[in-house]
């Protein structure tokens, strides 16, 4: 302990002084710049608050309101009615297939694989095509190199000779990388308090919508569900979640806009415990993983969720399929933030990959699974409730190829 502290301190100390020093120089330079450029806005003198102040137009600052299923206690909605998200009745919908949804825009990959097949043998161009196809699917340089490196060796050893064999081997290799992982949503049904599943992620990935769909699916599967509106930041996020609660027959707990999200989660767990509800789904505000204080806030939400009778069995990171290599960093940082000291199983327990029905391929999941060992659990293939499906590696890889 002592040595590690000392070791870290040596560096830290130097860095700090360096940063302070640089800052000093920076200020001097900037002053000169601003003197020359009067249009430049001066920096605000006060340390910036992280969130802009919210107009206190609703409720008390800290109180949370517990609303029941019938939700007649809900405050009147704001001037513009919240429009329901598009939702068809589940029974008229067929379970979507990966291939069907992902293949809407497959040109780039299909074209590359097509030209690989079109050649008589495996040539230099073959490798270029494959590399380009994988990179285009956001698989990333490292994993692409690994995949192709292994195949190149096998081609050299004459294990693989034809383009068809090569593609089959690549497909098998990619599937294998994702195979053998437990992707079920963990639920502890031994007697005790409610299970808690938290949903986290950067802004705009579709957390609230995902929760709504999970709520409906879980409720239809026979579990009683409570939705906790832990996104107290985004305007009208709670209304959006409330719509989902009504639609899925779930109970609903919200706090004041701009209030403390961990108190909302705490109240939600409390309320669920009192009512004997099986599962609490906790929404959180979208945040960039580079904002320390917001990540700290998330850590607190995670800790508070298991403070009472709640048992946090899933912390799901929602990632948008259009996300590039930053998805890896996101997973790492969110995992760090939601780690509970002394609990190795804590941190991010699974990833939900949304918007996979667009033209993006979501190839970053290979890196997330193999480098960080975090399983992809659910994927969003469309807007309706049945479009949120368990991740299936074979289907996913097949959809990339066909």
């Amino acid at each position: 302990m002592a040595t590690s502290v000392v070791g870290a301190m040596e560096w830290i100390y130097l860095i700090l002084v360096a940063v302070v020093l640089i800052f000093g120089l920076g200020v001097l330079l900037l002053n000169r710049r601003s003197a020359r450029r009067p249009d430049r806005q001066p920096a605000p003198p006060a340390p910036r608050p992280d969130r802009p102040p919210k107009p206190a137009d609703r409720g008390s600052a800290a109180g949370t309101a517990v609303l029941d299923r019938d939700a007649d206690a809900l405050e009147a909605p704001p001037e513009v009615p919240v429009q329901p998200e598009p939702l068809d009745e589940p029974e008229v919908l067929e379970q979507p297939t990966f291939r069907g949804r992902m293949s809407k825009a497959r040109s780039a990959l299909a074209a590359a694989f097509g030209s690989v097949r079109g050649r008589a043998g495996v040539t230099a161009e073959t490798w270029d095509d494959l590399e380009e196809a994988l990179l285009r699917a956001d698989v990333g340089v490292a994993i692409t190199d690994e995949l192709l490196g292994g195949l190149k060796a096998r081609v050299k050893a004459k294990e693989i000779t034809s383009p068809d064999q090569l593609l089959a081997a690549l497909r098998a290799e990619m599937t294998e990388r994702l195979d053998g992982t437990d992707r079920s949503l963990r639920f502890d049904d031994s007697p005790g308090g409610p299970n808690v599943w938290l949903f986290v992620g950067v802004n705009g990935v579709g957390k609230t919508t995902t929760i709504g769909k999970v709520a409906k699916q879980q409720h239809d599967g026979g579990r009683s569900v409570l939705l906790a509106a832990g996104d107290t930041f985004r305007a009208a996020a709670a209304e959006q979640l409330h719509t989902w609660a009504e639609r899925s027959g779930a109970a609903f707990v919200r706090g004041a806009e701009g209030g403390d999200p961990s108190s909302v989660i705490f109240d939600a767990v409390d309320s669920a415990t009192a009512k004997g509800i099986d599962l609490v789904l906790g929404d959180t505000a979208g945040r960039l993983h580079t904002k320390t204080n917001l990540m700290d806030e998330l850590g607190k939400v995670r800790r508070v969720a298991s403070k009472g009778a709640g048992r946090v069995t899933e912390v799901l990171l929602v990632i948008d399929a259009t996300t590039g290599q930053n998805g890896l960093t996101q997973t790492r940082e969110f995992s760090k933030a939601t780690k509970v000291a002394g609990d190795d199983a804590s941190g991010i327990t699974g990833v939900v990959l949304t918007k996979l029905d667009g033209s993006a391929k979501g190839g970053v999941v290979f890196a997330i699974e193999t480098e960080l060992g975090v399983p992809i659990k659910l994927v969003g293939l469309g807007e309706t409730i049945v479009d949120l499906v368990p991740f299936n590696p074979t289907d996913f890889v097949d959809a990339l190829f066909d």
Binding site: L16, V82, A236, T290
Partner: protein
């Protein structure tokens, strides 16, 4: 974490050292690393191919200046090339002769259209205009409500009515004329680019309001798909400029380069934070360095400028250079520093940080013992650490949960650092003048101390500063 390009190139640099001219093989080795850096930054594969080809042309046979090592020279070529690609013509807003000037916002779900509509409105307001926001995103639940909330914050009226988005847009335009607002910003629903119905809807809105500017909002974290999305929107709407959102994250933002290259329209604005005023016109020179992972001093300084109490920090910097920097000052600056975000992220932005340091995975917890030690000192001790005798040190160690060795080390290093700073104070005057010439063109130019040199020796070792501050880690 991505390795910074400079650390990746280290091995190659050693091999190239002493060569007077780059051969094709040398250039290939360097370009391979640059290619990886660009791909890691999510620059589109096709765009990477073109960039690399262009750079190869410039780099092969380029005469090497003695001052720069060959790899750095290639990096410089790359940096210039990217800056040029990202920059080119900038978008200058000209206002319509017959107001209102109409701006249409388009983009994917979750890219940040609504937030950026409000930010743009605030920007126009700051230019002395009177914008009106129109909420034509009737698809996403509560999108209009979000826009209204933001509108209230910036004191800009918001028009919307339930029903048909196309009609809302049309009525919004009439409303702007009626109210005499001179800029109209229309927020539209976001959908997947391949959603034909939604694309048709936004096309109709565009037809009805006949925008002077159509902006595409692109998430900085977007991967390879950015190009496809931009092409699809450009085909439907004729994009005039791009707004990069979420640039305050750590995504390297290769999407910016890809989109610029493919649709040939400038990146007009960048959203750099959640606060409504964190929105600015785009700086191509900074983005180039960021995509290459070369660190970005200007961004760092700006972040610092926002996080630190300016007067205090300036005074502290003065004291630092005069050798009168106390542990109190240090503690205070450390608190400010914490506000700038995770230490690891800050290090990533500094050029010239040794690789082993970046890899050290320095958590913010590492600051805690330092903080605890200083907090366990009396105010007098903080001002005069030389007072610290054995028993005082013992007390401090007990109070902070550290050992006497830790306390002594901190005190020793602090006083050494103080001496160095004082020595540097003399050099500062000269350096400051040189910095003036920097003109903010190249973020890696002179004016910044080289942290590499600063940290080059083992901490506490003699002569850490050697010959004073060298230029930044990259050629200027």
């Amino acid at each position: 974490m991505f390795d910074s390009l400079s650390s990746r190139l280290d091995g190659i640099v050693k091999r190239l050292r002493g060569k007077g001219r780059l051969t094709a093989d040398d250039v290939d080795a360097v370009l391979q690393e640059i290619r990886t850096a660009l791909l890691d930054a999510d620059v589109n594969v096709g765009v990477v191919r073109n960039v690399v080809a262009r750079i190869r042309e410039q780099a092969v046979g380029a005469d090497l200046s003695k001052a720069l090592d060959p790899a750095q020279q290639v990096v410089k070529i790359v940096n210039n090339e990217l800056t040029q690609m990202l920059g080119g013509e900038t978008l200058k807003i000209t206002y319509a002769g017959r107001p209102p000037t109409v701006v249409l916002m388009a983009g994917l779900q979750g890219s940040g259209k609504t937030t950026n509509s409000a930010k743009l409105a605030r920007w126009f307001k700051a230019q002395g205009r009177q914008p009106l926001l129109v909420g034509a995103d009737l698809q996403r639940p509560a999108a209009v409500e979000q826009l209204r909330t933001l509108g209230r914050q910036i004191d800009v009226p918001v028009f919307s009515e339930p029903g048909d988005p196309v009609n809302t847009a049309r009525r919004g335009l009439e409303e702007a004329r009626r109210l005499g607002r001179d800029v109209l910003i229309v927020d539209t629903a976001g959908r997947l680019a391949i959603d034909a119905e939604l694309m048709e809807q936004v096309r109709q809105i565009s037809e009805v309001v006949n925008p002077h500017y159509t902006f595409l909002v692109v998430d900085a974290m977007t991967g390879q798909d950015a190009v496809g999305v931009a092409e699809a929107f450009h085909q439907t709407l004729a994009i005039d400029g791009v707004i990069m959102s979420k640039l305050d994250g750590d995504a390297r933002g290769g999407a910016a380069l890809s989109v610029k290259e493919v649709i040939g329209r400038p990146i007009a604005f960048a959203s750099t934070g959640e606060k409504i005023n964190e929105f600015e016109q785009f700086h191509p020179d900074r983005m180039a360095g960021r995509i290459l992972g070369m660190g970005d001093m200007l961004t760092l300084i700006e972040q610092a400028e926002q996080a630190f109490e300016k007067d205090q920090a300036e005074a502290a910097a003065e004291r630092l250079l005069e050798g009168e920097f106390t542990l109190d000052d240090f503690l205070e600056q450390m608190q400010q520093l914490k506000k700038m975000g995770p230490l690891g992220g800050l290090l990533g932005m500094m050029p010239g940080i040794p690789k082993e340091l970046k890899d050290a995975q320095i958590g913010d917890d590492a600051l805690k013992p330092v903080e605890a030690i200083i907090r366990s000192m009396t105010p007098l001790e903080r001002r005069k650490p030389e007072l610290l005798n054995g028993s005082r040190r013992q007390r401090i160690a007990a109070g902070s949960g550290t050992t006497v060795t830790d306390v002594s080390r901190l005190v020793k290093q602090f006083s050494e650092m103080q001496k160095m700073m004082k020595r540097m104070g003399g050099g500062m005057a000269r350096k400051g003048k040189k910095g003036k010439k920097g003109k903010g063109g190249n973020p890696f130019g002179g004016g910044m101390p080289d942290i590499g040199a600063l940290l080059g020796g083992r901490p506490g070792g003699p002569g850490v500063f050697g010959g004073g501050m060298g230029p930044g880690g990259f050629p200027g």
